[in-house]
């Protein structure tokens, strides 16, 4: 709306217009019931106002039929809203397979974005328009929450775990990025911008200068540095399970049970390896908690994820 006095946020993602549509539907339902109650109360209050102090209205105890009607009708409407919201939520929960993968680390009081090719940004996130982008996020300290109002997306960012979110921007421009979970003194300053660019310009920006090594390459270095390969050799009789092709697979655990090898599992296995022991292996892996930073963990995870692709290509 007006520059200085907006009343409705811009809709700049594929999700935004869908969320807005649902929002307006609920708004109409609310407005309807509000007007209904206000009108009825107002009308009754005036029409039946007390005209003499000795008035004695006829007692009406109730009506089962009315109770049923005004229970079931709102219930039906509520279920429609629920179903619509649930479908949209589930659709928005799963990123498309071809989404651009960007990693996010939140810490008091800044956002660190890491493109897979190596580009790093602080408090600013460049993305291409018209392409889905998925974010894998974790926190170095307390719970934060990444919120982009124009995209209508928000997900908490947690210590010790990865959370995921995705969006597809539809309009080039610059949009607010907020931390939406109170995280201490400068919570309201933990803000930034999402810069949406035309794909060509985005490629230019990616290629421009300060990229440095890709996450995968850094991860490979760390993997070698920390000596992971000494146990995790893809050979029979190795002390640790092979990591090639591991990402996304189901892992059988000691003592029964299984787990999907997602980013959170990989991260946990590095900092708390005893939590889940793979069936058939000894619980001898030492913990690397405290030795590897959150970013380092991300790099290792990306490297292990890449081993999957190499396996597929073989």
């Amino acid at each position: 709306m007006w520059e200085n006095f907006p009343l409705f946020p811009e809709a700049a993602s594929t999700a935004a217009s869908r969320v807005d549509r649902l929002f307006f539907f609920i708004l109409i339902v609310c407005a309807f019931f509000t007007l209904l109650i206000f009108t009825l109360v107002f009308t009754f209050a005036i029409r039946y106002r007390r005209r003499s102090p000795s008035e004695r209205p006829r007692p009406i105890s109730g009506s089962l039929r009315l109770e049923i009607v005004w229970s079931l009708v709102p219930l039906a409407i509520a279920m429609v809203i629920f179903a619509w919201g649930s479908r949209l939520y589930v659709a928005l929960a799963r990123p498309p397979a071809e989404a651009l993968h960007i990693f996010v680390v939140g810490k008091q009081w800044m956002w660190k974005f890491q493109h897979i090719e190596g580009q790093r940004e602080i408090n600013e996130l460049h993305v291409p328009v018209g392409k889905p982008v998925r974010l894998t996020m974790s926190s170095e300290d307390v719970i934060h929450s990444l919120f982009v109002p124009a995209f209508r997306v928000k997900t908490d960012v947690l210590p010790g775990r990865y959370t995921r979110m995705w969006f597809e921007a539809t309009k080039p421009g610059t949009y607010h990025l907020f931390c939406a979970e109170y995280c201490g003194t400068s919570h309201s300053e933990m803000r930034g911008r999402v810069v949406v660019m035309e794909p060509a310009r985005f490629q230019e920006w990616l290629g421009g200068g300060r990229a440095g090594e890709s996450l995968e390459a850094r991860g490979a270095q760390l993997f070698a540095q920390l000596g992971c390969a000494s146990c995790h050799e893809p050979a029979p009789g190795a002390r640790g399970p092979s990591l090639v092709g591991l990402f996304g697979k189901t892992v059988e655990l000691q003592g029964g049970g299984s787990v999907t090898a997602d980013e959170t599992y990989l991260r946990e296995s590095i900092v708390n390896p005893q939590a889940k022991i793979v069936s058939g292996f000894q619980p001898i892996m030492p913990t690397y908690a405290g030795q590897v930073s959150e970013e380092g963990l991300l790099q290792l995870v990306v490297y292990i994820m890449s081993l999957e692709e190499k396996a597929a290509r073989k």
Binding site: E3, N4, F8, P9, A15, V19, L22, F23, I26, C30, F33, T34, I37, F38, L40, V41, F44, A45, Y48, R49, R50, R56, P57, R58, P59, I60, S61, G62, L66, W70, S71, P74, L75, A78, M79, I81, F82, S86, L88, Y89, L92, Q108, D141, V142, I143, S145, P149, K154, T155, D156, L158, R161, T163, Y182, C183, G184, S186, H187, S188, E189
Partner: protein, 542 residues
């Protein structure tokens, strides 16, 4: 049914039989304890309100120019903690519930009068710890105390506040326990469950929640305090703990807590609506059972505070659908109150104005809950001013209006004096206008994306923030007016008869103010709760 109306107060009643401090501070009379609570929670309301004023002053400009960030964070935490634990949760139950429940059921006191007094002292002890925390530098975690910020990272008085909240919880538990046992065992002869006033039903449902939910808050706060004390704990990811567990435990109480706050208000509204329509409430059983339904369902929806927390989509779906279900009993109540007006004899005394305000604003606030129960929309508005507006509509537009309505309705019974009707109506109007001006813009701000707990904000949010702050100043004035005339009325207002409203209910069958033992002899009940159509009033000039 004939009801006696005595024009003058009795020579000796619960207020004047002794004026000594000892007789007040060691009183086990539920009416005096109700007054003690009234004084305490009014005090805390104004402290919590003062913090709100500072918050709204700061938010008039986008920059943080009134206070530093650390201070601002402590201000909003103090506002939340004080308003929730030391005003909203005790208010109607500890003031009006304590005063009225024995009267309404024809009893001489609650089942455990000494526990009742103990609950007030526990309340004060908890308040002392919390005030010590607030005024010794404050706590900056938000009233929700999320780990690991509150357990590991915050440099503020988390322990002290935690101890204060833990202690105050027992006050709530004792009140609920007292009400449950009282309602079960001390009803007058002939007073069956379905002849009880809806106020009593509402407090019974509230007491169930108090008794079942508050202990979970207690253990959560205890575990948090232990983690803070020993530097390691069950929510610490460094030893495999899960901060999300804190959220589950915390909201398991804190969601039902909001029903502790609103159910008593709904009970008050039922009484006022019946009296000022001179009709029994439409759908009495529906409202009574809806109160119980709210209490039960209220325990099943806590995860709707955690849709974006990393909780599984499966769990989120279940919590979403249950959250829609819990809205239905509240809707049923609003429809029934509205139907009560139909063909009633509607008067516009101040209590009824507050009841109208409640119905309108609670409906609006409750409906906005639909946005929040809806998964995809909540993702956008969670942790924004939309949420802040939603709960203030229900708590301030709903609960506080019901409380004000109840205070005005029963003021003559409690004090033996009438409040000034003209000023009261004026204040009600000021409050209504100020309230809407304060909080409606916040819905817009929230959908725009302004997060909550923000000390500084982008420039384009300023106009709406200024509107909200302007409203807050009007609202503040609105609350001051009754403070003044209520105090004035105690000495200078006209004396009230025992039943100035010609209301049904056993509490109106005793003099105003009631004698210490409530009833000269235990009444016997032979009618439904709202026998307005058969009521004859016999005026007695004693």
């Amino acid at each position: 049914m004939t009801t006696r109306l005595e024009l003058s107060p009795p020579p000796q009643h619960y207020l004047n039989w002794s004026y000594t401090a000892r007789s007040w501070l060691l009183s086990t009379d539920h009416k005096r304890i109700g007054i003690l609570y009234l004084l305490s929670i009014t005090f805390f309301f104004f402290i919590g309100g003062a913090f709100a004023v500072l918050i709204r002053l700061e938010l008039m400009t986008p920059a943080g120019d009134l206070v530093h960030s650390e201070t601002y964070n402590r201000l909003f935490t103090a506002h939340g903690v004080i308003m929730i634990f030391f005003f909203l949760i005790p208010s109607i139950p500890a003031v009006l519930g304590n005063f009225l429940i024995p009267l309404m059921i024809g009893a001489r006191d609650l089942a455990f009068p000494k526990l009742n007094l103990l609950s007030w002292y526990i309340f004060l002890a908890g308040a002392a710890f919390t005030m010590a925390a607030v005024f010794s530098g404050g706590v900056d975690t938000g009233w929700t105390f999320y780990a690991p910020y509150s357990s590991v990272y915050s440099n503020s008085a988390v322990m002290l506040t935690g101890i204060g909240v833990f202690i105050t919880g027992f006050s709530s538990i004792l009140t609920g326990l007292n009400f449950i046992v009282t309602i079960h065992t001390l009803r007058a002869p002939g007073l069956t469950w379905f002849r009880l006033p809806l106020f009593v039903w509402a407090h019974y449902a509230t007491s169930l929640i108090m008794v079942l939910g508050t202990p979970v808050l207690a253990i959560t706060v205890a575990l948090l305090a232990l983690e803070r004390l020993f530097g390691v704990g069950v929510f610490d990811p460094r030893i495999g703990g899960d901060p999300i567990l804190f959220q589950h435990l915390f909201w398991f109480y804190s969601h039902p807590a909001v029903y502790i706050m609103i159910l008593p208000g709904m009970g008050v509204v039922s009484e006022i609506v019946a009296c000022f329509s001179r009709k029994r409430v439409f759908g009495y059983s529906a409202i009574a059972l809806a109160s119980l339904a709210i209490a039960v369902l209220g325990f099943l929806v806590w995860g709707h505070h955690m849709f974006v927390s990393g909780q599984s989509a499966y769990a989120s779906n279940i919590f979403s659908i249950l959250s829609f279900l819990v809205a239905i009993p509240s809707a049923i109540k609003v429809f029934n109150w509205t139907a009560t007006f139909y063909r009633g004899s509607i008067a516009y005394d101040t209590p009824m104005l507050y009841a109208f305000g409640f119905i309108g604003l609670f409906t609006m606030g409750g409906l906005t809950g639909l946005f929040l129960a809806t998964l995809a929309v909540d993702v956008h508005v969670h942790d924004t001013y939309f949420i802040v507006a939603h709960f203030h509509y229900i708590m301030v537009g709903g609960m506080v209006m019901a409380y004000m309505g109840g205070l005005h309705f029963w003021w003559p019974k409690i004090t033996g004096r009438m409040y000034p009707e003209g000023w009261a109506k004026f204040a009600a109007l000021v409050i209504f206008i100020g309230f809407n001006l304060t909080f409606f813009p916040q819905f817009v701000l929230g959908y725009l994306g302004m997060p909550r707990r923000y000390h500084v904000y982008p420039d384009e949010f300023q106009v709406l923030n200024v509107m909200s702050s302007a409203g807050a100043s009007i609202l503040g004035v609105g609350y001051l007016i009754p403070m003044i005339y209520f105090v004035w009325s105690i000495r200078h207002a006209p004396v009230a008869s025992s039943n100035p409203w010609r209301a049904a209910g056993l509490e109106w069958q005793t003099p105003s103010p009631p004698p210490a033992d409530n009833f000269p002899e235990t009444p016997v009940v032979e009618t439904e709760a709202y026998p307005y159509s058969e009521m004859e009033v016999e005026v007695v000039d004693v």
